[in-house]
């Protein structure tokens, strides 16, 4: 250790080193390019996830009709569509975009570093992720078809091809998910270590922007919860292909074990993607309210509290799934208690608005839209966490509507918040505000019209994962069917509005007005780079930023400017 002094030269050499095209764009180690790779891969996968949603919503609204661009939907294809929709949206859209893309792009910039601590590990993480996406997409085209046993993959259905009838599809699905976990474990270690060790001189723990905390805490949650499921995935893979009997009750295994392994990860996973999305709000709201984040320390404690509590609640997904009923009481208590830190966090974000000077820009609208939509997702969770009510709601569309009121704000509204806010930093140009507002209102309104009707059908008894309700007399009523059609039509509207976003993104990327380095007049370090978008290394190596104050110093009394950048000495 005492001889490892050569790094000083290494750091300098690299800044003089000209990069080839391949090094810069195909196999980059620069955190900003890896972040963009994750971003666009995730958005590309979202197209597939959205297409699957379109297919099965059309089938539900107009049973057995031929769906345009797809054809008639068989029960097998329907099951595959819902399974792949869930898997893709969580593992290949929410995770890569919220954690990996924003984590890669933002962490070094916001802590005043030139790159991640381990750039090549970072590149390896993206490459594994890319392979996992390829394996997943390939699994849709193998003989037997794509895996259709729901994204929870409960055995014995998932463990035995004689039950699932997708011998290759289920194994490839499992391998893709396991590879994706490996990619995010590597990425997560990188994020945590970079934020712990790589901070700019002078940056104390309470000078760290909230989004960095959120992504790191999310990475720690992921790391601490995914292990049992990695082990479980290996066991399930052996069950599928070697004929072992971990989860097969005919031969001494236990299917309940998989459910626990899955949800021990699956519930913290919700918070893994939630925290970065709330972090976006914590960054964006102070900027456009021109006001300090309300009670920084308390926001941080509620985040940590949420993270820790999220490990104690997982079995509320299994209340009626065959666990011992006595355990359900414990998990009801812990589940309802998680409302305490989460409610406090939302209150604090709302309190940040008090006394502000609020500018309704597009990123601000998205951040406020997140709070509005997530509130509905949050309060409806109480119904499902309360074991007695969950007896009726379990596996109905009420659950579907509830978790879409959390996941849609997280994965899409959160992403739009961050994407529109940091777009000038990513591409050096501004997005079109008018198109942005049309996209915002179109998306928010149609989104509510998709999922509010689904709360109603859930109350009416609609079970999930049913490809045609005509087989159930109580559910084949015109009232329920009209609500299903309403939801489907709203989905089509929602999809149509996304084309505005895609157009706005690509047009602004090349032809938008030049933004300048700090268009929002924000205080955090990413807005202080000399070049915009920042060049390799972000800052000149001999002039890295030093931090003198917290990240949210807006409207400080006695100062002419209403913002006070973190790196300004006075």
């Amino acid at each position: 250790m005492s001889v490892a002094h050569d790094h000083d030269h290494g750091a300098h050499d690299a800044h003089h080193h000209e990069m080839s095209f391949i090094e810069k764009y195909i196999f980059p180690t620069d955190h900003k390019y890896i972040g963009k790779q994750y971003m666009f891969t995730g958005m590309f996968m979202a197209l597939f996830g959205g297409f699957y949603a379109y297919v099965f919503r059309m089938q539900l609204a107009f049973p057995n009709m031929s769906v345009p661009f797809f054809g008639r939907v068989s029960p097998m294809e329907y099951n595959a569509a819902i399974t792949q929709h869930g898997t893709v949206m969580i593992f290949w859209v929410a995770m890569p975009v919220l954690i990996a893309a924003f984590g890669n792009f933002l962490i070094p910039l916001l802590i005043g570093a030139d790159d991640m601590a381990f750039p090549r590990l970072n590149r390896l993480s993206y490459q594994i992720f890319l392979v996992s996406a390829v394996v997943l997409i390939a699994s849709w085209f193998v003989p037997g078809g794509a895996f259709g046993g729901a994204w929870t993959a409960y055995p014995p259905l998932s463990a035995d091809a004689r039950y699932s009838l997708t011998p290759m599809g289920s194994s490839m699905w499992l391998i893709a998910v396991a590879l994706e976990f490996a990619a995010f474990l590597l990425g997560g270690i990188n994020f945590i270590v970079t934020a712990m060790n790589g901070r700019a001189p002078g940056m104390k723990w309470n000078d760290v922007p909230m989004i960095v905390w959120m992504i790191c805490i999310a990475s720690i949650l992921f790391m601490a919860s995914v292990g049992p499921l990695v082990a479980g995935a290996i066991m399930l893979l052996f069950d599928q292909n070697l004929g072992t009997n971990f989860f097969d009750p005919r031969r001494g295994g236990d299917p309940i074990l998989w459910q626990h392994l899955f949800w021990f990860f699956g519930h913290p996973e919700v918070y893994v993607v939630l925290l970065p999305a709330t972090g976006m709000c914590a960054e964006v709201i102070p900027v456009f309210a021109r006001k300090k984040l309300f009670a920084y320390d308390t926001v941080l404690y509620t985040t940590i509290g949420t993270g820790v509590l999220s490990f104690f609640v997982w079995a509320h997904h299994q209340f009626v799934a065959g666990i011992d009923p006595r355990m359900a009481n414990v998990f009801t208590i812990t589940t309802v208690l998680i409302s305490i830190p989460i409610a406090e966090m939302v209150f604090l974000y709302i309190a940040t608005l008090y006394g502000g000077s609020i500018r309704y820009t597009v990123p601000m609208l998205w951040a406020l839209g997140f709070i509005f939509a997530f509130l509905i997702g949050g309060v409806t969770g109480i119904y499902l966490g309360a074991s007695g009510a969950d007896i009726y709601f379990h596996d109905t569309y009420f659950v579907v509507a509830h978790f879409h009121y959390t996941f849609f704000p997280i994965a899409f509204i959160g992403t739009f918040t961050g994407f529109t806010y940091w777009f000038p930093k990513m591409f050096g140009r501004m997005m079109n505000e008018t198109l942005g507002k049309i996209h915002f209102f179109g998306t928010m309104i149609s989104f509510n019209f998709i999922f509010l009707p689904l709360f109603a059908t859930g109350l009416g008894g609609d079970h999930r994962r049913i490809y045609n309700y005509n087989n159930f007399p109580e559910l084949a009523t015109p009232d329920l069917q009209n609500l299903r059609i309403l939801a489907t039509v709203a989905l089509l509207v929602l999809i149509a509005f996304q084309f505005i976003f895609i157009y706005n993104t690509f047009y602004s990327m090349f032809f938008g007005p030049i933004s300048g380095t700090n268009p929002w007049k924000a205080t955090t370090l990413e807005w202080t780079t000399p070049e915009n978008p920042p060049g390799h290394g972000n800052w000149p190596p001999d002039n890295m930023p030093t931090v003198y104050r917290g990240p949210y110093e807006y409207s400080v009394p006695g100062r002419e400017d209403d913002f006070w950048p973190q790196n300004q000495q006075s």
């Binding site: 029960p75 097998m76 099951n79 259709g148 046993g149 729901a150 929870t152 409960y154 014995p156 259905l157 039950y163 699932s164 009750p249 005919r250 021109r290 006001k291 300090k292 984040l293 009670a295 320390d297 308390t298 009626v320 799934a321 065959g322 359900a328 009481n329 208590i333 309802v336 406090e344 209150f347 309190a351 608005l353 008090y354 502000g356 000077s357 609020i358 509130l375 509905i376 109480i382 966490g385 309360a386 074991s387 007695g388 009510a389 007896i391 009726y392 109350l459 009416g460 008894g461 079970h463 049913i466 490809y467 087989n471 159930f472 109580e474 559910l475 009232d479 807006y554 409207s555 209403d562």
Partner: protein, 221 residues
Amino acid sequence: MNLFQPALSTFASDVDNLVMMITAIVGFWYLATNVMFFWLLWRYRAQEGVKALYVTGHEPELLRWITYPHYLIIFMDLFVIVGAIKVWYNVKQNLPEPQEVVRVVGQQWAWSFQHPGADGILDTADDIKTVDGLHVPVNKVVHAKLESRDVLHNFSIPVFRLKQDIVPGRVITAWFEATQAGVYDLQCAEMCGIGHGLMAGRIYVESDEDHLAWITANTPK
């Protein structure tokens, strides 16, 4: 428009009342939060010459606005927890003495039912086996022994507010007491493969005389 399924078991209205109570509590919070939210959005919109306040949020007189509602949330959480556990205990843990025991077997993708027959005892010669139709007497405590031949299924009767997964290799006992005669849906509510959407059954809740007549007519010779 009548969306909601009628409540037709002894505990169905308990579940519904719990849902109502939760609706009252979270509805209050939802409305209160939104009123505050939109009022702040309107009141503190950017205005010419008005600078934002500079507060950290740790000032006691401001933080009060967060902590007091917060204590109230903790207090109301207790109601939700107690209410949920009471209903749960009644439906899932407590097991009243059975007046009839039936066996429910799920398999891909059909139900089969074994009724105790005239002697009221399962696994005797006069058992009645049916496919996709479960016959039970009204106003009697019925135990259902849930078994599966292959994968996970779920024994769900929405009008009874009853739902229980069926796990292969296990025998799980569910109970209900129907309060009104009629024919209702019985559904599989756990993903069980390609035919999951076809796995429908019917439950025939019959008055004592009708039930007796059905037993007499169907007892195997």
